[in-house]
């Protein structure tokens, strides 16, 4: 606890959600409370994963931090200042395909710089460098539909990181990929992240992935009115290799402990879904 307090006085958190409520108006006039009184701090340079049962509002919370959604109540502070709209300091990697289908990989990566006023030639040059960094140097002229799911995610990662955001928001970014590709992408992400340690908020339903990647794992309860019910530090050393770290006894113990809590919530989620 004193450690957290010190962190707050030294430097403001990258993301600070305080008692955030999220409500949606339903078609029949009712109100659905997706998230209730959620509080979460992500320090600068910290990698935090949010895990919870399907439909618990993890992505909703991410959209709040991104400024794509306004909370019904509570405070959202980004580096100590309230968030007025779209979070300009954040990059967002979406779960679904979010690349511009009518632009080539190179144009997709360069666009974030071009709209910010970087001259086209320079933007393209830097985009090419980023494509090379994510292992797609030779794929600059491909359109998204010509790439595999994993390659599209790599382009997406380059598209977000080229703008050098201080915060990285990721919504189950590797969800649709197969297990092998996920591991490779996870390692790539850790590689890129370790270069300049941005604050990361990473949503996933995969507990193993969450532990392997992050410094902290936050557990959300089943919705509606989902809350944050657990907050676990991951004291595993870095740099990590995702496939190797899963064999560590410490990893497995942590996984068992967190899973005890998560399992109850997942079952609750199922029971509610069936009860409806």
């Amino acid at each position: 606890m004193p450690e957290i307090a010190r962190a707050q006085t030294d430097a403001p958190s990258a993301i600070a959600l305080a008692d955030v409520d999220v409500a949606f108006r339903l078609a029949d006039g009712g109100v659905y409370t997706a998230v209730a009184r959620a509080s979460l701090d992500v320090a600068d340079g910290e990698f935090v994963a949010i895990v919870g049962p399907t439909g618990c509002g993890k992505s909703t919370l991410l959209n709040i931090a991104a400024g794509l959604l306004a909370p019904a109540g509570g405070r959202v502070d980004i580096f100590g200042a309230p968030l007025p709209g779209i979070n300009r300091q954040a990059g967002y990697l979406f779960q679904a395909d979010a690349l511009f289908p009518w632009k080539t990989s190179l144009e997709n990566v360069a666009i974030g710089l071009e709209t910010a006023g970087t001259p086209q030639a320079e933007a393209r040059e830097r985009a090419q460098a980023w494509l090379t960094r994510v292992g797609l140097g030779a794929f600059g002229d491909r359109y998204p539909h010509m790439l595999s799911g994993g390659q599209r995610k790599r382009v997406g990662l380059a598209q977000v990181l080229i703008r050098d955001p201080k915060i990285l928001l990721m919504d189950e970014p590797f969800g649709p990929l197969d297990a092998q590709t996920r591991q490779i992408m996870g390692n790539l992400l850790l590689d890129l992240w370790s270069a300049d340690r941005k604050a990361v908020l990473f949503v996933t339903h995969d507990l193993e992935e969450a532990i392997a990647l992050s410094d902290r794992v936050v557990i959300m309860s089943a919705g509606p009115a989902a809350r944050i019910i657990g907050d676990w530090k991951v004291p595993l050393p870095r740099p990590r290799d995702i496939s190797e770290i899963k064999a560590e006894p410490e990893f497995q113990k942590l996984h068992r402990d967190i899973w005890q809590m998560l399992k109850a919530e997942v079952l609750k989620g199922y029971a509610q879904a069936e009860g409806v």
Partner: protein, 261 residues
């Protein structure tokens, strides 16, 4: 099926139809010609008529007039459709107000407008252009409207997160999406531009393929009517293949399997 076989079969269909037509209009079956030449002419006469048109050069003027009318109708209709489609898609309130009138205007058979256009714009090309515009406009309008409305919410959110302002969203997200829908209806809209031109000419003009057909019909020159039809069909095929080439170039980013009809 190999390309050669396919082409051979396609040619065979034409040859068989033409031979049947020629035989049925010239050779009596049980002492009776099944297709009276007065009503059905025959392929040789039709071919002769087409040959005369091209050898004397008469046809070029008419083709040119029809082409100009169709091209003008296509561009004016498309520009109008894009502008109004964009406007309505971005201003739902305006769209809601005009909705019943748009539906009404679109339901109207455009042929009935032809006399009015002739009255307003005369017998020259502009009354035909106007008719084509009323056809092309709605096709483009509906597609652009849909294209702007159906931009993927994720792509839109991504664009916002990448720091795009309203103008940049327009240029990099809404515009390409709308254009892709418009281009996917390119065949239909170009086809309707030609239909508008020809129908307009048929109903009253001084030149054009429709005029040629109408003139031949007026003197019961059935060979002339068929000849006009064949020239028109060839004209449409040429235009359509040009459109295909343009479409392939413009929509190179789109996966083939997902192409809309």
């Amino acid at each position: 099926m190999s390309r050669v076989t396919l082409t051979a079969l396609q040619v065979m269909v034409a040859v068989v139809s033409l031979v049947l037509w020629q035989l049925l209009t010239t050779v009596p079956v049980f002492g009776r010609v099944l297709l009276p030449p007065f009503f059905f002419s025959n392929p040789l006469d039709v071919a002769h008529q087409v040959y005369i048109w091209f050898s004397t050069g008469v046809i070029w003027k008419h083709l040119w007039v029809t082409l100009i009318e169709a091209v003008l109708a296509f561009f004016i209709g498309s520009i109008g459709g894009v502008l109004v489609g964009f406007w309505f898609a971005r201003q739902p309130r305006t769209a809601a107000v005009f909705d019943p009138y748009v539906k009404m205007a679109n339901a109207l058979p455009r042929v009935v407008l032809a006399p009015i256009f002739t009255l307003w714009l005369g017998l020259g090309i502009w009354s035909k252009v106007a008719l084509g515009v009323t056809l092309v406009f709605f096709i483009v309008f509906f597609n652009v409207y849909q294209g702007v409305k159906e931009v993927s919410p994720t792509v839109l959110a991504n664009a916002r997160m990448l720091g795009m302002n309203e103008r940049q969203l327009m240029r990099h997200v809404y515009w390409p999406s709308a254009l892709s829908w418009m281009f996917s209806s390119l065949h239909t809209s170009v086809g309707f531009a030609v239909v508008g031109a020809v129908v307009g000419e048929y109903l009253g003009a001084a030149a054009g393929l429709g005029y040629l057909i109408q003139q031949a019909e007026g003197i019961f020159d059935v060979a002339g009517v068929f000849a006009g039809m064949f020239v028109l069909a060839a004209f449409v095929i040429v235009i359509d293949s040009i459109v295909t080439v343009i479409e392939k170039r413009l929509l190179v980013w789109r996966p083939v399997a997902e192409a809309r009809p």
